[in-house]
């Protein structure tokens, strides 16, 4: 486009590349000004359809790893809670996120050992690859998402002890990661119809995600017993749960231009509820005066800003 400044590559478009292949000069994403390239998650496919008329079904050629069916079920449920049938985000004050990413562990080595006294200790080493998180997506909350395939009778209460440690891969020994820091906490919940338990690990992972860490390697030990410590029922018979390795859920605020910013739209609606968005031209200010603001007005608008 005859836009401001030079486009990244003068080469003609033509060859189609997969959205994530940002290295090739022909990737339409590179036509965008630098600041805009990151975060355009939906844009590359739209650009490719527009730039390539010949292969309408090019998308079906792009290989996509199939997601875990339980993860898919959770995200569809999250979608139904967050958007209307037409796909319009619900104006839910409590949900500040405009992006939620669910990662299933790319590899896990399970260690499974039983210690009768302490119930069924279920520990796994998990590696999450966060390449898809863009620099413009700021972390609001991170959660380990456990789904239960368990024979635990419904409406029973479970008390779990969870021990989490993150492993650093220092450059010298790639093989055996040293544990960098760990945290232990207990949680208690009722297993009713609930198929999911979200363990909030925000404060724990924040430092890693804030430093734009691409791979997070963690070991999770979780022990669950039936019963409720609050009502001093004896914690007895360990629950031999078939715990599915957890997924990592990131609630993010995408700060890029094309992401929907709730607070922004609320502000916009307050300013001009029914009229199309228009710049106040100096000739006709909405209040009819010729654009001079008295000092009072200036102060009020400064406060508003």
């Amino acid at each position: 486009p005859h836009s401001r400044g030079r486009v990244a590559s003068e080469k003609p478009s033509g060859l189609l590349v997969a959205p994530e292949d940002t290295s090739s000069e022909l990737n339409p994403l590179l036509w965008l000004p630098k600041g805009m390239r990151r975060g355009y998650a939906l844009l590359p496919p739209l650009l490719k359809v527009l730039s390539d008329r010949g292969h309408p079904n090019w998308e079906s050629e792009v290989p996509r790893l199939q997601p875990d069916s339980r993860a898919l079920r959770f995200m569809k449920r999250l979608y139904k809670m967050s958007a209307t049938k037409e796909g319009i985000p619900k104006d839910n004050k409590s949900h500040l996120y405009n992006t939620v990413r669910l990662f299933t562990p790319c590899s896990e080595c399970k260690h499974r050992h039983r210690d009768l006294m302490k119930g069924d200790i279920h520990s796994v080493d998990l590696l999450f690859n966060l390449d898809r998180v863009t620099a413009l997506e700021h972390l609001l909350k991170s959660v380990l998402l456990y789904s239960f395939d368990t024979s635990v009778p419904a409406a029973s209460s479970l008390s779990c002890m969870c021990h989490l440690s993150v492993k650093e891969h220092d450059s010298s020994s790639q093989v055996c990661p040293s544990v960098s820091h760990s945290v232990a906490f207990s949680l208690h919940f009722e297993v009713r119809k609930r198929k999911w338990v979200e363990i909030d690990v925000t404060s724990f992972l924040q430092p890693l995600i804030a430093t734009n860490r691409r791979n997070i390697h963690m070991a999770v030990n979780i022990t669950c017993l039936m019963g409720d410590p609050q009502h001093n029922t004896e914690l007895e018979n360990p629950v031999n749960m078939a715990l599915v390795p957890p997924s990592l859920l990131l609630y993010l605020n995408d700060t890029s231009e094309q992401a929907y910013h709730r607070w922004n739209s609320l502000r916009h609606r307050r300013k001009s509820p029914g009229r199309p968005r228009q710049r106040t031209s100096p000739l006709i200010a909405p209040t009819g005066d010729d654009g001079k603001e008295n000092s009072q007005g200036k102060r009020a608008s400064r406060q508003r800003r």
Partner: protein, 130 residues
């Protein structure tokens, strides 16, 4: 009145012709429905929700004297006068979206992760002449 004084003394028939130029055009600029499903674009393999999407669009002629009917800035009338009186290579004002609604999309990423994203300006809700 001014227009009448200026207007040449004409028969009632020409008078109606004369006023016709101030009427709003038949196919006036307005919002039109358009609904698509991502399976038509063969994108339903990676766009899980929503199944259907109504981006809508704006179409129609802009009346000569738009004024505030479309929330158009004064520039729109100036551009119309330029087109009519000075230089017809300058385009007439166009009928374009003025306001949008966002859209929530659930997609599968190439690495198999799943992302829920809310995009700004994905559904046209109001038209204007610019």
């Amino acid at each position: 009145d001014e227009n009448l004084k200026e207007a040449p003394a004409t028969s009632p028939y020409n008078l109606s012709e004369y006023f016709k130029q101030f009427l709003f055009p038949q196919n006036e600029c307005e919002l039109h429905n358009f609904r698509l499903s991502f399976s038509q674009l063969k994108w339903d393999k990676w766009i899980i929700a929503p199944h259907r999407y109504s981006p809508q669009y704006c179409k129609g002629d802009c009346p000569r004297v738009v004024g505030h009917r479309y929330g158009s800035p004064v520039h729109t009338m100036v551009q119309n006068i330029i087109y009519e009186k000075l230089d017809s290579s300058v385009p007439k004002p166009s009928c374009v979206p003025a306001e949008y609604n966002p859209l929530s999309v659930l997609t599968i990423e190439p690495d198999g992760s799943i992302v829920y994203k809310e995009y700004e300006d994905m559904i046209a809700t109001k038209c204007t002449c610019r």
